[in-house]
């Protein structure tokens, strides 16, 4: 037996013992590729989905035409994924940011003195723009497929709410760097809200926590941005995904 063979055998044994061991078996449920003895069988393919809490978002089987990339372009999934990326980078940014007069200085420090600060800030910002775009494209995909028709009418309603929440998240985040771009973009946007019929003035006052953008607005937007809207959007996303499945999976084929 050559040294190489002996090495390979030892490695195979170790890997087998590890994969078949108590620890791995306790972490990974039956059917997991990380368990000893995984073979590619129809049953195990089902278990991969059924026995994992995260993959369980999916049904065990999906329509054949639905997995063609050209059908959904994965746009809904990517909207969700961008939301996850934004959550992770956003939490990281929260460590270095105070929604007060110090906000601007905090962002400056983040960019200049903190490792990866600039990169993570850029990812959060461009990711946010990208999410608005991707959600919009997802909506267009759904429209062109007529995927909002019975029995999916209500999921469209939820979708429009998700679009609205995505815009609100992006808009409230826009103010946080507290630079000239932030405050004036939000002032212009907030003034538009003032033109809403009947309750415009009230909406604007509630949005700005006053008559114009101040640090009170900053705090308000911050809380909405990091807590309130994410909380609400997660609930609506849960309903959205649930309805996709309950309405019989992806629509089509055309």
């Amino acid at each position: 037996m050559t040294l190489r063979e002996r090495f390979q055998e030892t490695r195979a044994k170790a890997s087998d013992g590890f994969k078949g061991g108590k620890l791995m078996s306790s972490i990974f449920r039956p059917g997991s590729p990380f368990r000893k003895g995984y073979v590619d069988s129809p049953r195990n393919r089902s278990y991969v989905v059924m026995n994992n809490v995260l993959y369980h978002l999916h049904p065990v089987k999906v329509k054949r035409h639905g997995v063609r990339l050209s059908y959904t372009l994965c746009l809904g999934g990517l909207s969700f994924f961008l939301f996850i990326v934004l959550t992770i980078t956003g939490i990281w940014l929260m460590f270095y940011f105070r929604p007060t007069e110090l906000a601007y200085v905090d962002i400056q420090n983040l960019q200049t003195t903190i490792a990866f600060g600039s990169l993570v800030r850029n990812m959060h910002r461009w990711g946010a723009h990208l999410m608005v775009l991707v959600v919009f494209l997802h909506m267009s995909r759904v429209f062109y497929h007529g995927a909002y028709k019975a029995p999916r009418e209500f999921n469209w309603v939820i979708g429009v709410i998700l679009l609205l929440l995505t815009l609100l998240l992006s808009f409230t985040g826009y103010l946080l760097p507290w630079d000239q771009l932030a405050i004036w973009a939000v002032t212009v946007g907030g003034n538009m809200a003032g033109y809403v019929p009947v309750v415009g003035a009230q909406v604007k006052f509630g949005l700005f926590a006053g008559l114009e953008a101040t640090t009170a607005t900053l705090l308000r937007f911050y809380v909405l941005h990091v807590l309130f809207f994410p909380f609400i959007i997660v609930i609506f996303m849960a309903v959205h995904f649930w309805r996709v499945r309950k309405d019989g999976g992806i629509s089509g084929p055309l």
């Binding site: 065990v60 309603v157 004036w184 212009v188």
Partner: protein, 305 residues
Amino acid sequence: MVDIPEHLLQRSAEARAKALGISIEQAIAEMKGQSDPTVISKEPEVKIIDETPPPAAETPAKPADAPPPPAKTITPLKEEHSTETTEKVAEVKIEEKIPAAETPAPAAETPAPAAETPAPAAPEEVDFAPEVKVTQRLLTVVKAKPIQKPVKEPIDKVNTWPHLMLPEFVALMAMTAFLIFLSAILQAPLLEEANPNVTPNPAKAPWYFLGLQEMLSYWDPQIAGVMIPTVVGLILWMAFPYIDRNPETHPSKRKFAIMFYTFFLAGAGTLTIIGVLFRGPGWNWVYPWIDGIWFDDLLDWIHFE
């Protein structure tokens, strides 16, 4: 073991007897452990990786002196203790019935163990948790009936793993790579500190509101002419599936809807692009390649000089 009510035992024994083709008394005895379980020759589902052709093909079958194959109890019950009950019952139902019909055949063909050809190592049943013994038995076979009646014919389906999850994973990785690349080469803008007393000219909203801002610039005196349609439009947009009663999904049968949305897209896109690129100080028309970019988020993106 838990005491099982007699009538349930009876019913289950009947099912077992029917499935295995044995008498009810025999089934009861087996279930109570008073007699060895009926042998069913059944290859476990594990694929044979060994390339040696099965010996049955080479060795002539000797039905006369072939000893019965080593006793194997019905395995599916034992194999995965953790699946949902319904699935298990459904599987057991299928797998038990088929071998029952074929039992004599494979037994007859099994070669004597002493035959020259070494039998390939029997594919191993993987016992995931050897210390856990079988604690349940088949009580009864319930016919699998869906709770909801399927309205349509069965559809062509594929396993989510790997056919959906793999492409999803690739899309996710590609998006991550793209975002990191973008963030590495483009710096997010950070202008001077906020100052309510210095109004920049022009003051622009985020890009997704710029189409709206552009519209407001046309109808400024009659603001109601823009905002009311916007708010009403949003509500109508939500109600859209209830307004569009055409059940067809094929583009050729919903030309109006497709046209409507395409016009909306073109309009919104044009207004947004005008707002982003072609509006400068005083909201006057500018050409970005002559007068420069008047949209700070794009400052780092495009250079015309």
